[in-house]
Amino acid sequence: MSILISFPVVILLMILQTTFFREITLLNGSADLFLVTIASWALLSKDNSSWFWAILAAALCGFVSAIPWYVFVFTFLSIVIMARFVRGKLWQSPLMSIFGITMIGSIILYVLTFIGLRFQGVIYPLRSTMVRVIIPSIFLNLVFAIPSYAIMKDLSVWIFKGEVEQ
């Protein structure tokens, strides 16, 4: 069930990310809905479906975006690894977990993007990229991590309650 539900959710995320969330900007930064959703799901899912979610989201992002695909694959899988590691340790502090993973995941994503684009020959000035894009984007990711976590929690309750009843 959680694998099946990933397809509409990831497609919906892509539609929202490319339309609505790219319009909500802070300086030149914008939130990454995929990152916060994968982090939330990896913390909340009671099975191994978060690996599939991460690969599916990375594949779709790599297809749509001009960012090298391996950036998304590495980032989203890192987030799942971190979440699974943290889940057993900080289970009483879900907000701390989601904030921590979102923060570290965002840093991984933007640093890898910076490096990946540099490999493609696009050179970004470090200071202005940091001030105008990376820090505002991390802040927005943290802001959207809370509602994302709440929505994914409802989704996980719905999915796993259904599975228990079966």
Partner: protein
């Protein structure tokens, strides 16, 4: 008595209080009638009010839709005018349906792809000027690299000085003028057009206007900002020039 008018006075004296009493009673009776019938009227009025509010809501929605259609029609008319004024090119119009998910990049996603004759490298314009070029294509959609993207460089010619240079994008979406010789006099507000050099874009497409040119001592080239002619924040529809073959210049390998 009747002839003398005295009877009328007597009758008047007798009737006046009756008229007063009649009016007083009538007012009270009407109030009582209203008291019993008003709830029914209120229910009717509430139903009518709800129906009218629904109608207003529907009309407001229709109004918004029509305004939206009007805006789209105006955009399409402007694009059509541009296409008519430049008959040497063939165009395909497409709607902007999204942006690249990453904040690092200034790319658009449009709703036309290879099924509509769009291929990688084709220039994208609006009636205002140059937008960018096709970066990737699927059957029904394409990705456009904007000229404001950090990876974009456009070879340009300045209108007045006729000197050539380059306009590059940046992570912030600002355009900067580069590779213009320091010996050239560049004026504030000078128009910037594509030069056609390099084969990536056709010549004579408006890119923007020069802002704050600056010549530094001992520098070979001067710098300036360029105000793009296209408002990228409100871009809804674009034209793709389909009869232009972009030249992919690869480095020569011995």
């Amino acid at each position: 008595m009747s002839i003398s008018g005295l009877l009328d006075k007597i009758i008047g004296k007798a009737v006046d209080p009756m008229v007063g009493i009649q009016g007083w009673v009538s007012t009270r009776v009407q109030a009582i009638v209203d008291f019993f019938t008003l709830p029914r009227d209120v229910t009717t009025l509430m139903q009518q009010n709800a129906a009218l509010e629904a109608k207003i809501s529907q009309l407001q929605t229709e109004n918004l839709q029509l305004k939206q259609q009007l805006v789209e029609t105006e955009i399409l008319y402007a694009l059509l005018d541009f296409a008519r004024d430049n008959p040497e090119n063939q165009y395909v119009a497409a709607s902007v349906i999204g942006k690249d998910p990453s904040p690092f990049l200034n790319y658009l996603i449009i709703d036309h792809g290879s099924d509509n004759g769009i291929f990688k490298g084709m220039p994208v314009v609006t009636e205002q000027g140059l937008v960018g070029r096709i970066d990737a294509v699927t059957a029904s959609a394409a990705r456009v690299q904007l000229i404001t993207d950090a990876g974009s460089t456009v070879n340009i010619r300045l209108q007045d000085s006729q000197s050539e240079g380059q306009v590059s994008g940046s992570v912030t979406g600002d355009l900067s003028l580069e590779r213009v010789s320091a010996s050239v006099t560049v004026k504030d507000g000078e128009l910037v057009f594509t030069s056609g050099l390099g084969g990536s874009f056709p010549a004579e497409i408006l890119v923007g206007q020069v802002v704050s040119p600056e010549v530094k001592e001992n520098e070979l080239f001067q710098t300036a900002s360029v105000q793009p002619s296209v408002d990228f924040s409100t871009l809804r529809a674009v034209l793709i020039i389909t009869n232009f073959q972009a030249v992919e210049i690869e480095p020569l390998v011995p």
